[in-house]
């Protein structure tokens, strides 16, 4: 039975209300499901085939919106000096339980030492009960909690009131700050509804002026036995930290909307739909601007895995404030990856470490065996390995996370001292318009240019990762490090009509998103015109390559074509006219190395690439 609809939780009463232990219901649309159809908890309808965001409906403007310039960290109240009780206001504190990680790496979550923490910056609403008892009705006051979880609501009217805490951080741009955000936690297995926590019944302000709501983890007697109400609020607590890491140097950041989808059904099984909870792993979906997290208590939960939550937020940061050209897909620290993927994954992990001030990535697991006792996947992102079999360079997310962490961390942690703010400044500036693909090359060159007082330090950090930091360019013209000389240059140059360049797509490091599965050609049109590209397999027999082609303009795909016949020449049009003198990138590949289920064998296949103007 879904805890959303039926599970009762305890309210932790304080001061004069200590005699009472209230049962609260956490409900989709009000207490006991009696408030169905509330406009505050619905989801956006999806139009099939059209990418859309999954925005949770905005609450009413919080009364203290103007005072919330970041995720709150301070409070004028305390447990010993709570908000004064008045006849016209309801006040209280919203708290949640966090299950921390054990001290020892590998031991996973420490359920014995759960912590009660304030839910900061979450939206709290006063509902005027429509029948005087049920927690359904119109919202008559809205506020957000402060840095210690306190809230104060001043509802209009005399109706019995029910307090509801939404799993939502929310701010509207106003005169005090242009910053805005709408971070929500919703259930992808229940029509994308927002999680909320409410009282069990409505009463008058006079009868209950102090109303504290506590979200319990649900862990009792060695397992999850009751509703896991803390999960959405724990997720938001980490989002709070990640958001503040950005706001610390970019106070007017307009984040917009981001939805975290979490469910107790979200599991490591991916044989099914997202609506079934078969998400496979936690991930960021740029098309819907949403993040999916696991909650399957039998296998793997993510709600207390702060690094996982912040890592995915890092992807949101590049998506929203900057640019990501990542092609996604499975990846690991030991992979030789497409440079776009390596850079974006490395960034996301480095961002998590910088935002949370912790260089140890920890992802808990609920499963262990005597042979494999570790209950978490963890690593120190600073760690350097001398083993030559571990990839180091522009194609390694391990290198990328190490480099970006060093660039953004303090000098006493071995960093440059530039700070996360400097990295974000470059991410949100001219880097967005670089004509090369988004990789360490375009980012490194831009960062060096913009932070020229740190140029030597930046170069040194890149050199440590066997990237030519001294003369780094966006098109990697000087790069010499590679596991095989066949992987260089990173970009071939094509700037004349009629000439041709040879590139070779390889499965030497795996398929789909690995180093050299796609090869890149920098195309500089000699004149502004439409172009026809020819991708001709060097082996023009039935054993030859099946050509694939993508044309990218500053990272955006503007033309894409894939063949189906081995050894056949592929021709592709640019579509619109390409501008003279500007650099475009051609991604050339053997479909067997890139396309999942292409029914084409992977392998090393070379192609001649040429361009002519087209009518």
């Amino acid at each position: 039975m879904s805890f959303l609809r039926s599970i009762k939780i305890k309210i932790k009463a304080v001061s004069c209300a200590q005699l009472f232990a209230y049962l609260l219901a956490i409900a989709l649309n009000g207490c006991g499901g009696g408030g169905g159809g509330s406009s505050h908890t619905n989801s956006n309808p999806n139009t099939p085939g059209v990418p859309t965001t999954v925005a949770i409906a905005a609450p009413a403007l919080p009364a203290n919106n103007q005072f919330q310039l970041q995720c709150p960290t301070v409070s004028i109240f305390s447990v010993t000096a709570p908000p004064p009780i008045t006849t016209s206001a309801i006040s209280g504190r919203i708290t949640f339980e966090r299950v921390p990680f054990a001290q020892q790496h590998g031991d996973g979550l420490d359920y014995v030492n759960q912590q009660t923490l304030p839910a900061r910056g979450v939206v709290v609403e006063a509902l005027a009960s429509s029948d005087g008892v049920q927690c359904s009705g119109s919202v008559v006051a809205t506020a957000v909690t402060d840095g210690d979880g306190w809230y104060q609501l001043t509802p209009a009217g005399s109706a019995n009131i029910c307090v509801r805490a939404r799993a939502q951080l929310y701010r509207v741009s106003d005169g005090s700050s242009a910053a805005n955000w709408n971070f929500a936690v919703a259930d992808n297995t229940a029509s994308n509804v927002l999680y909320v926590m409410t009282e069990a019944s409505a009463v008058s302000i006079n009868d209950r002026p102090r109303r504290d709501l506590h979200a319990a983890s649900g862990w009792t007697n060695g397992s999850y036995n009751t509703a896991r109400i803390a999960a959405p609020f724990a997720i938001l607590d980490t989002v709070c930290k990640a958001m503040d890491a950005v706001l610390a140097t970019r106070a007017a950041t307009q984040f917009g909307a981001l939805t975290y989808f979490w469910s107790t059904k979200n599991t490591s099984d991916k044989n099914g739909t997202l609506q079934q909870g078969k998400i496979g792993s936690s991930f960021f979906n740029p098309n819907t601007v949403s993040i999916y997290l696991r909650g399957d208590a039998e296998v793997n939960t993510d709600e207390f895995d702060e690094m996982v939550i912040a890592h995915e937020f890092g992807h949101f940061v590049t998506h929203t404030l900057s640019r990501s050209d990542s092609i996604g897909g499975s990846h690991s620290l030991l992979d030789y990856e497409d440079p776009r993927l390596a850079f974006d994954e490395g960034w996301a992990t480095a961002f998590a470490a910088l935002a949370l001030h912790d260089p140890i990535y920890r992802d808990s697991d609920e499963v262990s065996t005597p042979n494999s006792p570790s209950r978490e996947f963890y690593f120190d992102i600073r760690q350097r390995f001398s083993n030559a079999n571990i990839p180091t360079g522009w194609f390694s997310e391990s290198s990328m996370q190490r480099a970006l962490y060093a660039l953004g961390s303090d000098t006493d942690d071995g960093g440059t001292g530039m700070g996360l703010g400097a990295l974000l400044q470059t991410f949100s500036g001219n880097y967005r318009q670089t004509e090369a693909l988004a990789s360490i090359f375009s980012y490194g060159e831009t960062l060096k240019n913009e932070q020229n007082t740190f140029a030597s330090a930046i170069a040194a950090v890149l050199d440590m990762e066997q990237i030519n930091g001294d003369s780094i360019t966006e098109f990697a013209d000087t790069e010499t490090n590679t596991p095989s000389q066949l992987d260089l240059p990173v970009y071939r140059l094509l700037n004349t009509v009629g000439s041709k360049q040879q590139v070779c797509s390889s499965d030497a490091y795996g398929t789909q998103n690995t180093l050299s599965s796609r090869r890149y050609v920098r195309f500089i049109p000699p004149q502004t015109a439409r172009y026809r590209f020819t991708i001709q397999p060097v082996n023009a027999t039935s054993n030859g390559g099946v050509a694939g082609f993508e044309l990218l303009d500053r990272g955006h795909s503007i033309a894409y074509q894939e063949g189906s016949t081995a050894g056949a020449t592929l021709t592709a049009l640019s579509g619109s006219a390409l501008q003279s003198g500007r650099s475009y990138v051609l991604g050339i590949f053997h479909t067997g190395n890139v396309i999942e289920h292409a029914n084409v064998a992977a392998g090393d296949q070379c192609f001649w690439v040429s361009a002519v103007t087209a009518p």
């Binding site: 296998v299 697991d365 789909q512 993508e550 074509q561």
Partner: protein, 168 residues
């Protein structure tokens, strides 16, 4: 200017004709390919995954296919394909949990990645019980240059039958 017949223009004209000729020869020698083109050229093209990019994990993945939903007491065949890009080290496959079904052989399997033929496959047989929620959890531990790394996978044995790669 290409139509000019004097000096450099003549050479350009010849080059142009040659280019047409070569192009025509190429087209005739190599059959034109049947192509798939994105209806919307702004589409992201050859992205390998529709589910974004997963968070960091051990370098091993798993897909599976089950024979049928399995009536109580009737065996379910579970065909497992294990994917890893590592070509050395050892991979340990263990059954960490069973619920609603009992595996006929729940012993651990150790695979030497240096010699094992690809794809890495494994077949398990489960006998479902009367419980409606049926699943097993496998824990895959791979020895890497960075030390052992584990990843757990849930295999849902409840109906309906599902395709191995996420399709319904």
């Amino acid at each position: 200017m290409l139509l000019g017949f004097g000096g450099d223009g003549t050479m350009k004209w010849i080059n142009f004709v040659c280019l047409l000729f070569i192009s025509a020869c190429t087209q005739s020698a190599l059959s034109a390919d049947n192509v798939k083109q994105t209806a919307d050229n702004a589409a992201h093209g050859a992205k390998p995954s529709a589910r974004g990019s997963p968070s960091p994990s051990a370098p091993v993945d798993l897909t599976y296919r089950i024979s049928d939903s399995g009536a109580t007491g009737q065996p379910i065949a579970i065909d497992i394909a294990i994917n890893t890009r590592l070509n050395a080290g050892s991979l340990l496959v263990e059954v960490a949990k069973q619920q609603g079904a009992t595996l006929l052989d729940a012993s651990a399997h150790r695979i030497d990645l240096a010699v094992a033929s690809r794809p890495l496959t494994l077949q398990l047989t489960a006998i479902p019980t009367a419980q409606t929620e049926r699943f097993i959890v496998l824990l895959l531990t791979i020895d890497t240059e960075m030390g052992p790394m584990s990843r757990s996978f849930r295999i849902d044995l409840s109906p309906p039958v599902r395709d191995a790669n996420g399709a319904q």
